[in-house]
């Protein structure tokens, strides 16, 4: 039965690539910075998935440890990034990225 066959590593790579692509595409086409941020999280997760799959297929647990670090960085990045969004919104009352393109103080 094909349904009971072992999943090859390539399938995980494709899945991870698909999720990453969706995240990247979402990041490019959406304008709401919060949604764009969530797309970045999706991309990070796609990376994590590949890490874990590689850890499993190579039999080295360190890949899972790296996922840990990625999550830490993601949490730090979200905390600061959302703080920036909140701060900008407080000043400009818009959170459309195309509106906040000027970078001069």
């Amino acid at each position: 039965m094909i349904w009971n066959a072992t999943v090859p590593f390539g399938a995980w790579a494709v899945l991870s690539g698909l999720l990453f692509t969706m995240g990247a595409a979402g990041f490019l086409v959406r304008r709401d910075p919060i949604v764009m941020f969530m797309c970045i999280e999706l991309m990070l997760n796609a990376g994590n998935l590949l890490f874990v799959a590689a850890a499993r297929y190579l039999g080295v647990v360190d890949g899972q440890v790296y996922v840990f670090f990625v999550m830490t960085v993601a949490a730090a990045e979200v905390a600061v990034g959302l703080a920036i969004i909140v701060a900008i919104f407080r000043r400009k009352t818009t959170i459309d990225v195309d509106e906040m393109s000027e970078m001069r103080g």
């Binding site: 590593f9 999280e41 994590n48 999550m71 730090a76 407080r90």
Partner: protein, 182 residues
């Protein structure tokens, strides 16, 4: 780990990821992303990464996405933005090209990489258990672990400073530190 479970769970993950991209409402998008993260967590379980499975749920679904929801509520986002609303058309083009390139890469990986590692390695019984992770984390990866605390410290300080700049802190004018009010 069989094809059937893999296909079902990854299908759920992909569908909800699509929900994030196409949802008109940011809160719905966040809920889709939570569901997608839970599906990815289940995939971690299939890869015998049980500790990462539960950390994924606790950190991504339980903490990070809550922060997103809070910000949406604070900023009163109601999703007036149309899904896929017109950015510069070039960006959509770039997105499509990027997607095509990545998919091509993935296909190449299947075609070529499949030969490199096709079957899962033999793993010891406790693979991916908290003990296993702990040993790897606190012996071989000690330096990154310690540096992690600096990342967290920097994030903490950065976010608090940004919040103060925006006048969100109760004492925006830099009231004397240390004095315990009241």
């Amino acid at each position: 780990m069989t094809w059937l479970t893999f296909l079902i769970v990854s299908g759920i993950a992909v569908i909800f990821a699509g929900g994030l991209i196409f949802s008109r409402n940011a809160v719905h998008g966040a809920m889709c992303l939570v569901a997608s993260f839970c599906a990815i967590a289940t995939l971690f379980l299939l890869l015998s990464a049980e500790f990462i499975f539960v950390v994924q749920i606790a950190v991504y679904a339980g903490a990070i996405m809550v922060l997103f929801l809070f910000v949406m509520m604070l900023l009163n986002v109601q999703g007036q933005e149309g899904a896929l609303a017109g950015r510069a058309p070039g960006q959509l083009l770039v997105a499509l090209a990027l997607g095509a390139a990545l998919l091509g890469q993935a296909v190449w990986l299947v075609a070529r990489g499949g030969e490199i590692i096709s079957r899962p390695a033999r793993i010891p019984a406790g693979f991916g258990s908290p003990e296993d992770i702990g040993t790897a984390l606190f012996t071989r990866n000690l330096l990154p672990f310690e540096i992690t605390s600096l990342v967290l410290l920097a994030a903490m300080a950065g976010a608090v400073v940004l919040a103060r700049k925006a006048g969100l802190s109760p004492k925006p004018n830099g009231a004397p530190a240390g004095g315990k009010p009241e």
